[in-house]
């Protein structure tokens, strides 16, 4: 009989990524609703005692797979061992991160397990002992509720980063750790040749609390320095519209929208962006939206909490000074 919730953590370069704690917290909530245990599966290299910390977020027991061949994520090495452990564990629900690697891992794992998978979920609940998942489609133009067929265990869901509430860590609680006993393959079909880190430990748009974004109204790549300065002051990442990316002003990874990143920060500041439907799809779920645009008719204004109708080259320098004043007093 399938029982309990299992969360699959994401361990990179010596620590668990924040999303791991988000899904552990969400897993705890679901496990309580089911009245069943919460365990975790941690794959990586040199995880050591850190696994016990998952207890801070309500995980009771962690199955740890620690091996050199698991240092960097590869489907080839991760999927077979995870599938073997999960088949034995037989959980009702499996939660995993909808991060870049998590999306890759979860799809292949679901196919291996023959499990139904709902990706990039923004809300989960238990009804009649079974999972229900809400997830965006069309980049957020609509939401769908997913349900699993009767008796189809495990029910797998990946959680969008930055959406699920993280429990306040209770450092008095430690998780029991069990070294999983399965053979980890080296893998000979795929190899990680190189990992090149982005300069300056750039914050990823999907994980940023604040995003300052620029569009064609920025007029040229040099003017993004203004947005970089603002971003630095308020701890933001810098995004862009497709026009700014197509013009070669910004890297493609910064594109927000239906064919770019779909983001849900607490604050999104759109500068010189008109608000085309493909752009709005990617950022409309942000908690607060601000737009600076000289055209009062720009569609972006239909989505904003606070709108500034003005030439951004006039407004932003003054605004940045005001932010500096605020930051120097608090």
């Amino acid at each position: 009989m399938a029982e309990g919730v299992c969360v699959i953590t994401e361990f990179r370069e010596g620590s668990f990524r924040r999303i791991s704690f988000e899904i552990a917290s969400e897993g705890r909530r679901l496990a309580d609703e089911l009245g069943e245990p919460l365990v975790a599966l941690a794959l990586g290299e040199s995880i050591g005692d850190l696994a016990t910390d998952l207890g801070n977020y309500g995980v009771e027991k962690v199955y740890v797979l620690d091996a050199p061949s698991l240092k960097d994520y590869r489907a080839e090495t991760y999927v077979p061992v995870a599938a073997e452990i999960l088949s034995n564990l037989d959980p009702k629900v499996i939660l995993i991160a909808a991060s870049v690697d998590g999306k890759d891992f979860s799809a292949r794992l679901a196919a291996r397990l023959g499990a139904g998978l709902a990706t990039d979920c923004t809300q989960l609940k238990v009804e009649g002992g079974s999972l229900k998942a809400k997830r965006p489609m069309y980049a957020g133009k609509a939401f769908a509720w997913y349900e699993w067929s009767d008796g189809s265990w495990p029910q797998m869901a990946s959680c969008r980063p930055n959406v699920m509430d993280c429990l306040a860590p209770d450092t008095s609680k430690k998780a029991e750790v069990e070294k999983a006993k399965v053979e980890v393959a080296e893998g000979n079909q795929t190899q990680v040749v190189n990992i090149e880190k982005d300069a300056g430990g750039k914050l990823d748009l999907t994980e940023a609390d604040i995003i300052v974004s620029g569009g064609r109204g920025m007029k040229g790549p040099e003017n993004f320095a203004m947005l970089e300065e603002l971003a630095k002051l308020i701890g933001a990442a810098v995004g862009a519209s497709r026009s700014a990316v197509d013009s070669g002003w910004r890297p493609h990874a910064d594109q927000v929208g239906q064919t770019g990143k779909v983001v849900t920060p607490n604050l999104y500041i759109a500068c010189g962006i008109s608000g085309a439907i493909q752009h709005l799809a990617g950022m409309s779920s942000s908690k607060y939206i601000v737009a600076v645009n000289k055209d009062p008719e720009a569609p972006i204004f239909s989505k904003v909490d606070y709108g500034v109708v003005e030439d951004l080259f006039k407004f932003l320098p003054v605004f940045i000074e005001e932010v500096k004043t605020l930051k120097s007093t608090c």
Partner: protein, 263 residues
């Protein structure tokens, strides 16, 4: 060398989504259909390999008759032939069901490389391509923003949070494509290309042709299904700030700090 591109037809990204009468699908009454943009990048990448490595490019898709138009577009861009699985029995398939259908076609095709978008911009599921690789038992390399072939191997660059990973795999393999329009700049179909496309082979198959039994795919085989759809809550019209530049700047800082508490 044989390359197969998996292609999905999706609603135009301009589409304003409305929920259909059943409450669990979208209203498709006046939708314009396009090739999934990420699949378009996959077609572009395949065509570049067609030129540099002398590959033959096959387009594989599933769906109703309207999908022919998107396959023809890919043929007009330069692909060599198309296969469409058109069978009402596939409707209601979940991602795994769709992957089963595509994998069944691939098992009867010669291929060294399978290319597809990392996601389709309608369901945004990020699943089907990778599941096809699992069902075929071949490696997959996900979210490519560049691709290179050599020595029976394929090498891609894959952006992850805060880094870029260079990944190499043996052939046959499946690659899913990411990036943006600016990365791939997919070619337009030329007029002669459009004329030629009309004569290129396009085969239509049913589930029975693939040797799949009807209960392996479609609604009855689905492990997950959509039971309801909803539109996001309409955002309340916000405040447009008034006054001189400095007043607006001060007011915006105050609102973000005191009211929204986000800075």
């Amino acid at each position: 060398m044989n390359i197969v591109v998996l292609l999905k037809q999706v609603p135009d990204t301009e589409t304003k989504i409305r929920i259909g009468g059943d409450g669990k699908t979208i209203d498709t009454s006046d939708i314009k259909w396009i090739m999934n943009p990420y699949d378009e990048y996959a077609v572009e990448a395949a065509l570049r390999l067609q030129e540099s490595a002398g590959a033959k490019v096959t387009i594989l898709s599933m769906g109703p008759e309207r999908v022919v138009e998107s396959i023809r577009t890919a043929l007009a861009m330069g692909a060599d032939q198309g296969v469409l699985v058109n069978d009402p029995g596939t409707e209601g398939s979940d991602a795994l069901g769709k992957a089963k259908v595509l994998a069944a076609v691939l098992k009867n095709l010669e291929f060294d490389l399978v290319c597809c978008g990392h996601r389709a911009v309608d369901d945004d599921e990020n699943q089907v391509g990778i599941m096809v690789a699992e069902l075929l038992g071949i490696p997959h390399l996900g979210l490519a923003i560049s691709v290179e072939l050599g020595d029976g191997k394929i090498r891609i660059v894959r952006p992850i949070e805060g880094a870029r990973v260079t990944l190499e795999g043996t052939l046959p393999a499946l690659v899913t494509f990411g990036g943006a329009h600016a990365v791939w700049n997919p070619r337009y179909a030329s007029l002669p290309g459009i004329m030629k496309a009309k004569k290129k082979p396009l085969e239509t198959k049913t589930i029975a042709d693939l040797g799949l039994s009807p209960d392996e795919v479609g609604m009855q085989a689905a492990k997950v299904k959509i039971t309801a759809m909803e539109l996001p809550a309409e955002r309340q019209a916000g405040r447009v700030l008034e006054g001189e530049t400095s007043d607006k700047a001060k007011e915006l800082v105050r609102l973000l700090h005191e009211e929204a508490k986000v800075i």
